[in-house]
Symmetry: C2
Subunit: 598 residues, 2 copies
Amino acid sequence: MAADDLVELAKRRGFFFGSNGAYGGTAGFYTFGPQGAALKRNVEDAWRDRFTIREGNREIEAPTIMPEAVFEASGHLDGFNDMLVECPECGASHRADHLVEDATGIEDAEALPGEEVEALIADNDLACPSCGTPLAGAPVENFNLMFATDIGPGDAQPGYLRPETAQGIFVEFPRLKEYARGSLPFGITQIGPAYRNEISPRGGLLRLREFTQAELEQFVDPEEDEPPLDRVEDVEVRLYPATEQAADDGEYLHTTIGEAVDDGVIGSPWVGYYLGVAQEWYERVGVDMDRFRFRQHLAGERAHYAADCWDAESEVGGDWIEIAGFAYRGDYDLSKHDEYGDDAFTIFKRYDEPKTVERATVDPDMSVLGPEFGGDAGAVAEALATLAERDPDAFDAETVTVEVGEGDAAETHEVDADVANFAVEEVTETGEHITPHVVEPSFGVGRTVQTLLAHAYREDEVDGEERTYLSLVPEIAPQDAAVFPLVTNDDRLTALADEVAADLRAAGLAVAYDDSGSIGRRYRRQDEIGTPFCVTVDRDGIERDGPDTVTVRERDSAAQVRVPVDDLAGELAALRAGESFDALVDRYETVATDVETN
Amino acid sequence: MAADDLVELAKRRGFFFGSNGAYGGTAGFYTFGPQGAALKRNVEDAWRDRFTIREGNREIEAPTIMPEAVFEASGHLDGFNDMLVECPECGASHRADHLVEDATGIEDAEALPGEEVEALIADNDLACPSCGTPLAGAPVENFNLMFATDIGPGDAQPGYLRPETAQGIFVEFPRLKEYARGSLPFGITQIGPAYRNEISPRGGLLRLREFTQAELEQFVDPEEDEPPLDRVEDVEVRLYPATEQAADDGEYLHTTIGEAVDDGVIGSPWVGYYLGVAQEWYERVGVDMDRFRFRQHLAGERAHYAADCWDAESEVGGDWIEIAGFAYRGDYDLSKHDEYGDDAFTIFKRYDEPKTVERATVDPDMSVLGPEFGGDAGAVAEALATLAERDPDAFDAETVTVEVGEGDAAETHEVDADVANFAVEEVTETGEHITPHVVEPSFGVGRTVQTLLAHAYREDEVDGEERTYLSLVPEIAPQDAAVFPLVTNDDRLTALADEVAADLRAAGLAVAYDDSGSIGRRYRRQDEIGTPFCVTVDRDGIERDGPDTVTVRERDSAAQVRVPVDDLAGELAALRAGESFDALVDRYETVATDVETN
């Protein structure tokens, strides 16, 4: 199915649609309708179950607006840009790198300097896609992708909508480590909105200005902590390593997580562990594993601090799209936030036994420094202390040279060595401060939703009629079941159907109720939104001897069984938890329906 | 417990804390820690279960950024303001109405005109709370509380962070009514972030700049739809009607929903229905109903379009705080968005039988109007059509007078009546377009969390030692259970404890694992975050004949029973769903603990 068809289907059936249609629409924003919001929530719950609860990690919820200082430290303020070229004629904005890539076949034009992209635009006579005006000579500028706002009135503080949920975790590390009682490894997760003010949003849920991320930041001691690789070592994966992508006849590598880590194809065992967990999770929620792969980042794609990066990719409408990223980020994130160097963003790692170490110290005579250096005296004393730590041998000379101030205000001072009162002391240390490394599995929730819809789409014939349906797994389907009275002119049937629906809802199941149109039409409606089971209350079920029964129809096979009302909630809950419908076929009376699917 | 103590407890135990502490903090923003995020999610799930699933409503998820046109229509752009006064000396911003209220005892100063508030500031010699400078003469200005941003690059479109989730529902009504197959009543819910750029944020979760709402918009036909009041008519409530608030010796009214609606104390049956549902829901999630009331809005508090408004209020730290609002909003919201008058925001209501009605029409002779009125001819024809509908008798005269254009450009034209070709036709109508009315229960999720913590806080003595604990109901507690090996130097115990914890997590339970410190200390840690049940793996449980057993301790009573490992997940799930611990005491061996609580 083409991507456009999927978007149309999603709109018609209440999964998602472009927002603010009554106001002409707003590019880059989508609203999840009733089916889509339920599907998305089920994906989030399944992710939480796997990546938070079962891993013993902890989930937090941080605000979406954050102050400027956070993004100064994280690097987003300076570096979170796309290349923008504005048409001098019509004023339309375009991604300059995308124009160049589309026209020249160059890959990853984003990595090129702006002037080079300007030159490529001129050399290739590229024109504005909106109005056809030549773009040669138009400047290529860096456009920061963060949405800016002002926090508070008057002397407002600049703030930004977070471009990733991760920063809400990193910035609170000083407190989060307390909750973890100061010991590694521990993992913090967050599911929530993130924002990127895209220059050219794309259709569907692929490149939005507001989207949902599910991120895990796993904090580890790089020297000691190892992942429980044995749990996933036998998981089979399809890898697309960087070397194969670069080769002319590059091929997928079919292997196991254990082998790929042993062979060094996957550089980080932690990344390998989470690739294995993710592979099993994607299969559980219904991704077609024949349309799924892990692709390693090429050297140019990777952030400079990231040692090993892989994307999970799914095939949708003929294209491979990134649906998750797995990166070993080293100590980059925490060290960036430790701006005051006060160890708030480190962990104190206790030695097995206390160590005695030599430490160089100074105790400058301020009665000499004061008169000599005036206002600089304090800075000189500090510089001496720093120098003692870094280069104790400098104090062997008669005078010591230090520099204070920065940039143009920098000044060099000479100090008599004996004024510094340099000494080497023996101190006992019980441990050291280390900056944890970060392993980050980062999932796009909307892209997962889009993948699941695309992979669940089916067409077949039932009873000689064409039908389309969504073969979503029960855990993920928006509705757990639908309840129908077979006819509406029999009060006994409608009363029992009402009761059955209320009971199922009280048992925590998401249940649709439908009494409009023929039963076949009602089945089709549910097939189209992927409801796995339809419950019909018919006369046969209440008129026969014994307890009241209803029919339960399975979506894909259209097979039906007759189940006592008292068993219904338990059976549907078991089916949702993964039990096969065949188990019900074995245990209950099947209903002949003359229906054939093919 | 005082509000400040609650905030301190919440921070220490991982419920919530002011965001960005490492960067000096950002007023008005809180981060939910691991316990708080879980508690909040449980509150949201319980709300969804009651107000979406069991009511048969539909939940959607809309973006948090919306374009300016939406808020032009909704009235927020012009009217969503607070009164701001800026100190001329130090530049600090203050809520002018709050300064006046605090100093004068005037209630609801927000309702006064700005000049009057300026006069009150001068008359009462009010000074800047930050620096003491007199504020007399400083202008009181309207400050719009929406966070503004720019959508897209270049010719950016102004956008705002939504001040309430409701607008994301109203604006999509044209599509949502399709999903409801065009028939009333139907209800749409949404749970998500909302934003208000408060001038003076308050402590804790009470007045934040970013917060979570759970809102239900119930769309009804005002002439026909009635709520299922019988379901809640016997629910007992404590009401604080407007008349009692105004009276000198005003008292609470203890009554039932049914009586309050019958007596007209609650003006709208729909509002009455949701007050009843909410009363039961608050009780279910653990609000202390002796510290809870429904307070009716005073006439001055109510928006002009709202026929009846009630707040749910809870007592926290000695103050009554609003935790939900219930309003009958009439057709205000949808008619505001129906700017093009194209009936997109209406429902087509079919008559029981088609009606034949007379309709006045015109068919102006454009070959006359054209030469006579030139560029105005089209507008004149339109004006004639409008006039025919509004005042058909006008066409009895020889000439008809119409006005075209607006404001200064308005012009009056005379047209010969026969040129208009006026006629009255009989047409058959099958129905009419009506604008649904809106009933809106709107819940503050963070304020509910804060209420639950305050109401669950307990101090007692266990085993002669003081303890503090949170008596949260199992459905809401952040952790469903904690698992401990009694000692860590016995591999059999730690292996079984690991296995038990993994099994419980696989069964969907949120489980903490703790093997550090004495067992008493571990119990206290869980008591402090409100974990209702602690599971301890001890030697006795694995050394005795029969299947392995563990002890299960209930938080409030500290009573313990011994439960077979195989039964554990099922029993804990039942306890979470509301089963009493006494049922386990009846069925299993109790463990003597010598522990007394009082």
